[in-house]
Every structure is written in C-alpha cells, then in structure tokens.
C-alpha cells in the first residue's frame, strides 16, 4: 500500500480518537488488520430518528490512491433506509462517489453518514422499495426502520406484532432475515408476504 495512504490513515486515527464525537461515543473507528487497508467504523443512530439507540457497524476499505480517491464504505449492520441497500448495505452518498474531495477524512465520512441517517433523500434512492415506502407509507416506514434498528443494531423499541408475524413465517421454514425483509417489503401484510415467498 502506498505510503501516503498509510501515513494519512495513521494521522487520521489520532484525529478521530481525540475528537469530541469519540468522547460522546457517537462515532468510532477500529483497525481490523495491521495493513491499515481495512477498518471498521461505527456510528450511533442520531437522536429523534428511527435509528436512535442503535449502533451501526461500517466496513471501510481504503484504496491505495487514498486520499485522492474515496474510501469504500458499506453498512455491515442491516438497516432500513432509502439510501442504503437493505440487502447489501451499499450506500448512495455523493461524497463517496463524485463529490469526494482529497481534504475529506474518515471522520467527515462518518459524520456525513450520520447526517444521512437523519436526513434521507428518497428521490435519489439506493433501495427503491424502501424509498417507495418512505414516500408513500411514511408511518409504516418509521415502524419498519425502528424494528430493524431493534433487531440488528440494538435499538430499544420492540414490536411484538412484527415479531409474531416473523415467527409465523419462521414456522413455515423461512429464514428469519428473509422473513423480515419480505414482510417489510410487503408493508407487514402477512398474506402478501406468504404469497410472495411461495409463488
């Protein structure tokens, strides 16, 4: 790996470690291996959003040409959000693509992602299904996002109704994650979800 990328990451580490956000526990960065090419980030769900109370883990891959090219970031924690794929965790965010600037840092990336959780852009979606729900059935979207935060990111809100529907599908031999994904997509309509799974 190019020297510059490594030295830059090392220095950024110090910066993140000393930043106020670390003190407040809202963002975190850890090393995965000694090569400094793969990192694990973590952001806290912003307050007053359905993600509040959850901890979201991010996979960060630093390219050799860093910081001239953006780091590759995706969500490891499953999340229900219009700009993040509910299947792969891929993120649609301008600064991770064309609008990356060499003077940006991992800290700015994590803070931008946190801001993205607070302010979704459903008109520029990564996950069309989620975006549709966000725009058309916003209450259901909030419920689903909270439920996912609870199920995957350790959020505080539980939804017995959702859990029981998932259990029904699990009883039919469906994997829990698949059951949750299909029910979320079908607006928690058990009949439609079953139809979708078995047709």
């Amino acid at each position: 790996m190019a020297n510059m990328a490594v030295s830059r990451i090392k220095r950024e580490f110090k910066e993140v470690m000393r930043s106020e956000e670390i003190v407040q526990c809202s963002i975190k960065i850890e090393l995965i291996n000694d090569s400094w090419t793969e990192l694990r980030g973590e952001i806290a769900g912003p307050p007053d959003t359905p993600y509040e109370g959850g901890k979201f883990v991010l996979e960060i891959k630093v390219p050799e040409t860093y910081p001239f090219n953006p780091p590759k970031v995706r969500f490891m924690t499953r999340i229900w959000h219009p700009n993040i794929s509910s299947v792969t965790g891929a993120i649609c965010l301008d600064i991770l693509k064309d609008n990356w600037a060499a003077a940006m840092t991992l800290r700015t990336v994590l803070l931008s992602l946190q801001a993205l959780l607070a302010a979704a852009e459903p008109d520029d979606p990564q996950d069309a299904v989620v975006a549709y729900q966000f725009k058309d059935k916003h209450d259901l979207f909030l419920l689903t996002a909270r439920h996912w935060t609870n199920a995957y990111a350790g959020g505080p809100h539980t939804f017995p109704d959702c859990d029981s529907k998932i259990q029904r599908l699990k009883d039919m031999g469906i994997d829990e994650h698949d059951a949750r994904a299909v029910l979320s997509k079908e607006n928690w309509n058990l009949e439609k979800a079953t139809e979708c799974l078995f047709s």
Binding site: E15, F68, A103
Partner: protein
Amino acid sequence: MNSDDEYSDEDHGDSYRLANSPSSYMTCVESDEDTCTEIDLPERPKRPIEIDEFAYTVLTADQIVQHQRNIIDEVNNVLHLSPQVTRIILNHYKWDKETLFERYFESSPQEFFHRAHVVNPFATPSKHSLKSSATTTTTGKPREQLCGICYCPCEELKGLACGHAFCAACWKQYLANKTCSEGLAHSITCPAADCDILVDDVSFVRLADDAEVTARYQQLITNTFVECNSLMRWCPAPSCTHAIKVSYCEPRAVRCSCGHEFCFGCGENWHEPVSCSWLKRWLKKNNEDSETSNWIAQHTKECPKCNVTIEKDGGCNHMVCKNPSCRYDFCWVCLGSWEPHGSSWYSCNRYDEEEGKQARQAQERYRSSMARYLHYYNRYMNHMLSMRMEHKLYANVQAKMTDMQENMSWIEVQFLKEAVDVLCQCRATLMYSYVFAFYLRNNNQKIIFEDNQRDMEMATEKISECLEREITVQNLYEVKQKVLDLSHYCRKRRTVLLVHVREGYEKDWWDFIE
C-alpha cells in the same frame, strides 16, 4: 481540388486569423459544386436553391491552442481579467462569447463568478490569504502549517485564490491522479472539502510541476475545447490531429488537409442527399443485423422441448427434432406433440385456421419489406464496393498519364485524374441516394428523384466503363474529348439530382417512412 484557394479575411467573416502562420491557414470551398448555376432547365425558371459556398478552415493542434488564446483575448478586451480566469469562464459557457457577455452584464459579479466556479477577483483581498484547511483540528494548539491532504507539517503550502493550501507533493499527486487516471482537465476543483473553485491552467502548470502530466492536461483541454465548441469538429480520419472550424454549424461537406472529406454535422463520410439522422438509422440497421434475426424469426421455430432452432426443409408437418438428446416428435403447425395427430389431425388444422391466416399475412408483409430493404441495400453496397475499386483506378490512370505525356503536356493530361475524381464523387452520391430513397415514401417528387437517379447512374456507369477499358495511347485526342464530355455530363447529372433533393428539403416534398 479545392484546398489551394486562398481567401482573404473578409471572406470567412471571422476576425480571428492566426497571427503566426497565415500561409498554412487554408480556406476551402466546395468549388466542385459551383457548376450548379450553369444548369439550364428549359421548363423551370432558375432554381432558387443554390449551392452556396461553405467557408471553413482546417486547424492544426498548435493553431487550435492559438485560436483559444485569441478568443480569450477578445473576451478580455471587455472583461479585463487574467487570461486563466477568462479561460475557465469561457469553458463554463462552452466558448460561447455571446452567452458569456449576456450573463456578465445581467448578473451580479458575485453570482457570475460563483456560477463559473472561480473566485471573484474584485472581492476584498482579505479572503485571499492562504490558510491551511487542516488547521481546524481540535488539538487546541496554535495553528500550525498542516497540509490538509497528507496531514504532515510542511514548510510551504500552495493553493488557489480560494485560500485552501496544500503541500507541493500532495498537489502534484492530486493533479496527476485527476488528469491521468480520471481524464479530467477543466473540471478539476480545489481538493478542499466543499470547495468548488476550479484549478486554472496557469496554476495547474505551477502545481503539477511535471512535463508529462502538463502535456496530457494540454491535450485534454484542447480536446474539450474542440468537442464543446459547436463550430469545431475533429477530423475523424485515423491518427489525424486536425480540426475543422466553421463560422456556422450546418451539415456540410468539409475536407481536412489530410484529404479526408466528411460531413461537418455528424462526422460521417459526406453523404448527400441523405440527411445525418436518416443515415444514422440506416447504418444502425445495417450493423445491427436485425434483418438476419428477422429471417430467423420468420423461417425457424424452436423445438418445444429442447428449444433448439429448427428450419423446416420439407412439406411434412411431422417434425422430429434432430437434437440427439431430444428426438421429440411434434407438429410444426401447432407445436404440440405429434402423438394425437395420427387420429385427430383435422382438429389441429381447424384450430389453427385463423392463426395460420395471420401468420401467412405476416410472412407476406415481412417478405415484401425484406425484398424492399435488400433492393436498396444491394445497390448501396454495390456502389460502395465500386467506389473502393475506383481507388485502384487512380493508379492505372496515373500510369496512363505518364504514357500520354510523350504526346501531351502535363497540364493536358490532368483531365484523366479529374475524371476519376468525378467518378468517385458520383459513386458516393449514388450510394447515399439509395439510403435516401429507402426512407422515402412514394410520391410524384420521388418519381422525379428516381428518374434523376437513373440518369446519373447511367452516366456514372458510362464513364466508369470508359475509364476502365477504352483509354489507350493511340486514340488520345478522341478519348480526351469523350472523357471530358462524359465527366461534364456526370457532374451535371449529379448536380441536377442534388439540387432537386435540396429543393425538396426546402419545400417539404419529402415524406419519410418512420
């Protein structure tokens, strides 16, 4: 044939003439089509559609660079900015001076410069002092000279007018990365976050500090200049580095100094009488091989069991799939299993009656459209191939011209080469006339067009035969007269056809098949 015509400044109505090398600056005119005004048609008054001259210039790479400078200077006579800032602004407006001036006079300076992504040069200079974008770290220490890219303390930081500064090594790598890997030139911004100020060419050279990167950058900005300028087009000939500049954009024939003649509108070989958009459709149709797939769709069916494609080559409808692993017996008509057909064949027939009728009609429609396409395509291809052969003729003619010079002077034998020129031109026109005709709906004007086409084709074949067979040194003077007559007649027929088509475009006679 026409590149030697030198024109004075007034002729191309353009004020930027290259200061350094006026003699290499060529002005070409479609002189071969001047003859149109001589055409004398008895029944009609003189044609209103005249083939006017289309002035254009061929520029070398250096001349393009100079041309950019001239435009910048012109704009700067009004704006009084530094050339590098003017260049960015011009590029923002796609080198359209008029739009630029319009925007300049109607918007506030702040907005004008902001929109072009440059720092307002008239703003208070306090903003211009260099600051490091990385000094915002929360260390609490006094500000140190930290480079915002590599995060190393550096002695000297450099930057643009926006004030963000980075170390020399980072700038170098940043610009090399943007130019060589991402192929960007005019759109490189300051590397600071949320800063959209563009890197100007003078700063680029200073900060990139590398001959190779700078050369690539120059290449890229010249390229964007030509490509975003609607009055310029690169010569499409392979490895030709010239560009053509016109004073107004129109699909007209232009000839580069490398000899390649093409349409300024679309970059294809010159294709009159067919228009750029129809030619594009025609080329797409030919390339796509869509007719082949149509043939397959019409003449074959898939085995209902293994999906292998089958062509029926006999009358019997009892099909046995030849695929060794399948061997399915089925009925060609209903694609059902053959088994019940032994007893209930008639029910299959009745069931399919309506469908069979439709299929027959569809097939007939398809056959006639296929035949029509092939009619035009064969003639188009034939003229294209002949035209390629005629290029061999140049060599033969050259040899004959040398022989003839025993009896005639050099200037006296030039008629032969000119005749081949005419022949090639006619071939090209004929070739594209079939594309034009293919998309044309029948009407009276099309009949006239086809008559013109026939006359021109006959004339072309005559001259082609004459040039290929009849030229011998013995009957020199007779042959010369014949060739001159024929080529004059050909040229005339070509002009008649083209003028008629142009008149049709003007008067909306042509009804195209969508």
